[in-house]
């Protein structure tokens, strides 16, 4: 599934992946791929701008981690981000329920 198919849902996906624990960009992409069983194979060029946007919004924080083998920027969900994730999950559940109600007929 491409980034354009996921337009509007990337923030929800990234917050959901990161709420499980802090991770750097590379690991975030891996987690997305693993948890979706390969369906969400987003490119780095999509994920990094989204991570930066979420950080500017105060939903994520980040710091440099100097653990071997190389320096990485690690992202974590803030308290505000957890609140936003809860709201987005509710909205998504409502949207998915409505879609299902229509297409299942």
């Amino acid at each position: 599934m491409s980034a354009s198919d996921l337009r509007g849902q990337i923030d929800l996906l990234l917050l959901s992946v990161l709420v499980a624990g802090p991770a750097h960009g590379y690991r975030v992409i891996e987690r997305l791929r693993e948890q979706s069983e390969g369906a969400f194979d987003l490119t780095e060029g999509t994920v990094y701008p989204a991570l930066h946007r979420l950080e500017r919004s105060g939903l994520l924080v980040s710091h440099w981690s100097d653990e071997a083998p190389r320096r990485r920027r690690v992202y974590a969900v803030t308290q505000t981000g957890r609140g936003s994730l809860a709201t987005r999950r509710r909205d998504w559940a409502a949207f998915a329920g409505a879609m299902q109600a229509v297409i299942a007929q």
């Binding site: 960009g25 590379y26 490119t43 780095e44 060029g45 999509t46 990094y48 701008p49 930066h52 946007r53 500017r56 919004s57 105060g58 939903l59 924080v61 190389r70 320096r71 990485r72 920027r73 803030t78 308290q79 505000t80 981000g81 609140g83 936003s84 709201t87 509710r90 909205d91 409502a94 949207f95 329920g97 409505a98 109600a101």
Partner: protein, 225 residues
């Protein structure tokens, strides 16, 4: 290949200062990690077109405003508090010599003002405590506004002092007018405007600081039901 991609990215990136250095450093580290695992060509392919990625790092003006809404709300709150200082000064000056009404009233307001100040400064620095204090702040503002609106102590004594002082002043300037009524109306306006304004502002601040957005699914769900 990585150097070429980063050079192209650098040329089109419209982000400046510390953030620019950070973005480039982060993508450089990521590309080298990807190259170590899958080779340079695949790492660069996965990153996508350098120009498109650089452009996606540039936020639109409307997005920038929305992303900074918590800080804007904090600045608005601080500005409203600063704008209230002249009124506090006027109330203090109108107080009768020996009367402690103003001091009691200001002491009554100070816990709410302190929490607002701490919360706003924390939000401006993006500290989580700022958002956590927003709900207690709204509760404190509602209590304070209720006391002022219902003319309960210590607000009552303060506004009584204000009404008496303004009545005397109005009688001097305009002897024919009903000075008592004018002063009482004026005091009432101040109480209502400041109380309702403070509650609305604290509610807006709570929404902005906690990232709350109106739920859009309600109408749709009702329609389905």
């Amino acid at each position: 290949m990585i150097e070429h991609w980063l050079g192209e990215f650098d040329r089109h990136l419209r982000v400046h200062g510390r953030r620019r250095r950070r973005v480039i450093e982060e993508l450089d580290a990521h590309l080298r990690e990807g190259a170590a695992a899958h080779g340079e060509r695949e790492a660069v392919r996965r990153m996508g077109d350098a120009r498109a990625v650089a452009e996606s790092f540039t936020p639109r003006a409307a997005d920038r405003l929305f992303e900074q809404r918590d800080r804007l709300a904090a600045l608005l709150m601080l500005a409203a508090m600063a704008a209230s200082l002249p009124l506090a000064r006027t109330l203090e000056q109108l107080g009768r010599p020996g009367s402690h009404a103003s001091a009691w009233f200001l002491a009554f307001l100070s816990p709410t003002a302190s929490v607002a100040l701490v919360s706003c400064l924390a939000v401006l620095r993006r500290r989580p405590v700022g958002a956590r204090l927003a709900a207690p702040l709204l509760a404190m503002v509602v209590v304070t506004a209720t006391v002022v609106l219902l003319d309960l102590p210590p607000s009552r004594a303060e506004f009584h002092t204000y009404t008496v002082a303004e009545t005397a002043q109005t009688r001097l300037q305009c002897p024919a007018s009903d000075a008592g009524c004018v002063a009482a109306d004026h005091a009432s306006e101040i109480r209502v405007n400041y109380s309702v304004g403070a509650v609305l502002l604290a509610g807006f601040y709570l929404g902005a600081a906690t990232g709350w957005t109106p739920r859009r699914g309600g109408r749709r769900r009702r329609a389905i039901a």
